[in-house]
Symmetry: C2
Subunit: 728 residues, 2 copies
Amino acid sequence: MDFSSFLTSLGTSFIIFVILMILFAWLCTKPGNEVIYYPNRILKGMEPYEGSRSKIRNPFAWIHEAISSSERDVINLSGLDSAVYFVFLSTVFGILLLSGIVLLPVLLPIAITENNPGVKNSTGKNAFQDLDKLSMAHLKENGSRLWASVVACYWVSFVSYFLLWKGYKHVSDLRAEVLASPEVKAEQFAVLVRDIPPSSEASSKKEQVDTFFKRIYPDTFYKSMMVTDNKAVNKIYEELQDCKKKVVRAEIIYENSKKGPKPVKPTHRTGFLGLLGKKVDSIEYYNDKIRELTPKLEAAQKVTLKEKQQGSAIVFFTSRVNAASAAQSAHARMIDTWTVIDAPEPRQILWSNLPKTFYERETRQYVVYFIVFLTICFYMIPIGLISAFTTLPNLKELMPFLSSILDQETIRTVLGAYLPQIALIVFLALLPKFLLFLSKAEGIPSESHAERAASGKYFYFSVFNVFIGVTIGGTLFESFKEIQKKPNTIPERLATSLPGNATFFLTFVALKFFVGYGLELSRLVPLIIFHIKKKYLCKTEGDVKEAWYPSDLGYATKIPNDMLILTITLCYSVIAPLIIPFGAIYFGLGWLVFRNQVLKVYVPKYESYGRMWPHMHARILASLALFQVTMVGYFGVKEFHFTPVIIPLPIMTIIFSFVCSKKFYRFFQSTALEVACHELKETPNMEIVYKSFLPPSLVPEKHDDQQFEKHDDQQFEKHDDQLFEENV
Amino acid sequence: MDFSSFLTSLGTSFIIFVILMILFAWLCTKPGNEVIYYPNRILKGMEPYEGSRSKIRNPFAWIHEAISSSERDVINLSGLDSAVYFVFLSTVFGILLLSGIVLLPVLLPIAITENNPGVKNSTGKNAFQDLDKLSMAHLKENGSRLWASVVACYWVSFVSYFLLWKGYKHVSDLRAEVLASPEVKAEQFAVLVRDIPPSSEASSKKEQVDTFFKRIYPDTFYKSMMVTDNKAVNKIYEELQDCKKKVVRAEIIYENSKKGPKPVKPTHRTGFLGLLGKKVDSIEYYNDKIRELTPKLEAAQKVTLKEKQQGSAIVFFTSRVNAASAAQSAHARMIDTWTVIDAPEPRQILWSNLPKTFYERETRQYVVYFIVFLTICFYMIPIGLISAFTTLPNLKELMPFLSSILDQETIRTVLGAYLPQIALIVFLALLPKFLLFLSKAEGIPSESHAERAASGKYFYFSVFNVFIGVTIGGTLFESFKEIQKKPNTIPERLATSLPGNATFFLTFVALKFFVGYGLELSRLVPLIIFHIKKKYLCKTEGDVKEAWYPSDLGYATKIPNDMLILTITLCYSVIAPLIIPFGAIYFGLGWLVFRNQVLKVYVPKYESYGRMWPHMHARILASLALFQVTMVGYFGVKEFHFTPVIIPLPIMTIIFSFVCSKKFYRFFQSTALEVACHELKETPNMEIVYKSFLPPSLVPEKHDDQQFEKHDDQQFEKHDDQLFEENV
């Protein structure tokens, strides 16, 4: 790739970005589109447009809004987890900015003015001669100019330590502030109890739990809620909900037809997919069904609550301090009974995982680790098998109806060439879901924890396979044998092949941010899907809301991707400093774009109170260590006699990581009591706290309990904590 | 060494043992000796002899008494820590007994009937040909009879796992029982707070602590006690105590002289060592001094309590559950402030370590680890240096007054030959004290914890240097270079040199138990010292009591020694099964002897509620793993093709150790709440609990506080918890 084609690639990306930006500025002012561009604000009951709403908006107004928004706005509108993501972005941006300010003006002139007769231009498939002149590859072997690179390594490392330390402290402060807030949060008054031992007495499990906790906390124990096996009741509940929805829909259709010349009662057939069977009046049919299902649900609820109690419970305390301290104390002598941990938010509890016993969880965890290890190292094997299996002759045999298509010459060539790649793309697209599935299979009790676990697994996959894979060439599996023979050659192998791939990664990063962020901001795909759905599928208000209801930020896949970019940028930062501005733009622009998206679009699925941060912190340090080890290798390749001066760096990274986790991590595992003891705005209404944890299928249909107002009940049915806090 | 000299050595040891036993049976019935042979019973206020006291006692009566005593007796008389030591002894005895029952009848005939023409007799310095015929060394290389040894390895391992699991469970039950006991124990109502951050407000440290804990525990917080810098007040207090003692002594001398013809008032000189200066009347002089010191002490106490508060405190709760849960919860967000742990018993607190800050403790810990590492690996260097320095010519130069002695021929020869050995013996005698000093220097808050830490260090020293040192020959340091080159040859090196040293260790173990236990039981040394002191030094009742007051069991040095014997026995168990009975006798006889000593003699210095057990458990497993690794090496030396069948064993040991510590260990770190929530006999008198933690030098001399009876004050002055519990 020469310099002009590099610029062309860069320019194309940039033009796409500009077009998407203009599209965004135009589309977001269109009347019907607020629900796509401002759903978070709408759901919070705010005006979509801040301040004056002018039809012709400044296309850069969103940038101004994003910059002028404060951390407090983010926490209020989208929770602490989103705020932590911005701390991550700004920390990394800071690292790259400070590195770039020093490295670019120092290393580039040193490299370009070097007169190295023996220089070998890099020869990788993506090699690019002009860039080489700006890189460390151009420096003389064992020359004194390499000392500049040594200093650069130290500078990048120290900048990282400094900003990471500040970041950890800041996130810890934020977490403390949010956890100490005077609002009543249901999960702060509850703990999750697992591994309840089989009761020796004839009493029910619930009585056993009550007795146990009443004895230990005679003053502050409020109530317990047993986790039950809800399969049967859930089925009836869903059927009932479905009928209710269909009644509403049928009524709307009927109402609409009344406006027309001939009112027609909507009908449908009861058989397969509404195509076969008797034709019935929909409204009557579903109303009958609702009347039939409601007592059935009530009966099922009673049976479930009484007879399907599992070995897990949620226990409520009237004091926030007591709940926090209970979650940190060993209640039983053995680790495998009465495990007590912080209760997750009701909306993110993975109910089916709760009754899993200690040994089941441990076993599952190790099995999952092993599967992930196999996936990372040998993921090419199943793909290869699938490709082999889906060759054209095989396909024709399996699916004879395709043979007329497959016989055509051009289609055959294209398919033959692309089938393995398609298999790979499908695999990579399914991978995050697969990893999330695996993480949930470990028996993790909450959605946020499962996403963190999946994100960790994805990080290892992407660093090993994308970064090391692309650099060394082929997957880890291929170079496995060679590495096995000489395991200490990994840094060297990595180092020799790095410069040749610099351009590939440069364009990769640029493509990522220009096209990726352009699509993100303009939300073209959700917009198109919404309009199609609205036109052809949506009948009721609820349907429309469902069509535009935004997703959440998608931590589990977003962070490993960011980490990959960071790893690439850090590893090249000293070898080819030209990559630093690209990395800095990726994170700086990312900050801007996501600030906009978080404030206006995404609705967080859960709140984990910043528990993502230690995870990010550890991954950033892992990237830094990889960079430092690579540099040790690269200085070795450069035959630099003083290479050992770099060796203290990875050791310092390990010590730094150890010190940070020792100092800060405990507070991220559990709530410190000095934080939990802050005063509340008012005494919590424990019944509301209790009900917010009730699964919707177990909420009594008839509200016999008259002491709560209507709007309270709605709240816990919605399981929307945000609303809950506002009203309490 | 041939068979007859082996028997001679064994016989001599046995005869010494028999003589000591007879001496014991005779001496312990002598009237003046009860205080040496039954001090624990006397201090507990019991009759020294159980049941009928006949002058001519059966010399084996003590064996009957030891066997018929129950675990409950041990806990009542000597605390849980002693009971745990018996669990240790009986577990190890069980392992060796069950191993011996299978291994001896199986392996000995197999070895002796083997017809191995190529057998090489072992050639070590302690080699012993007859024993070789009974050992694995006699088996054919790669013969099928080696399978019996493989089975034996598995048998020993599984027996160990089974008994260790049972032991851990049993100790955990005992600990729960003692911790849940309805008696009020002061330390169960207190927590130790360290790393109190500097207060920003003008308030005193005590106010800061009170405010902090009152906020978190509004209902159960009772009081706090600041740790103060007591150096000045301690000095005055000790002087005062000394004067009081001397007054009593002078009065007794005066009383005694009244009985004589001419009553003489005792006098002494005030100058250096009572030899120079003015002659004064002792009684008057000391009484004057007491009158002078008492107000001085009171003033110093006030200053200390107000102005010398340190960054550490003991905080009292009115509820046992709350104290237990507080010790397990993070109180502050950062690990380096407000560290809260279980309060140790008052009598074992290392006061001067409490105010050490978190970072100081961490730094000290790593420095100490490093020093211990150096001591273990290179302890021969300083000894070598000292020996070189103390050669005869050097000695003469340094201490010319010795030259007349050193010039004599025989003395010169003897000294020249023994000087290095003397240096080594002095070093080994001082080592436990040195390791205890190092452990205390780490900043550990309690005596028991420091002894555990010292014991751990001593274990590594003894295994590495005595066992591996004697076996491989020379110290680790000497074979360091060779091992460094090929680190994976350690098991092989160990294995090749093992059989040659079997006899050495056989006689070593026999000597240990015959002579060691004989001396232990007969208590000849304390008896002689007591009688000398009583005759020449003791004047008052207190002096006599001080002379016979027994020591404690001495965990810190006893356990590493037992562990060394266990390591030796296990490592030889399959190679030379003849060692098993010796090991079994060592632990079985040890159980008997120490049962007697614990019930009648030793007074425990502290109670750590069985926290020693996880430490012992880990060390037993380390010995087992060393045995298994050695066997892998030895099968390799025997050119056994199926050697890999042994490799699962060390892996299983690691997994077993991991599972045990995961399942049981947490309860040994802190009190489980289900245990702490058991009901108490009565509401604790918190003022007594509080006062039991007051250092004696800070107890007010005049008891202005009239609400406590005299005997309560005596209790906390004595710092004897046992008594305290009985009276409360």
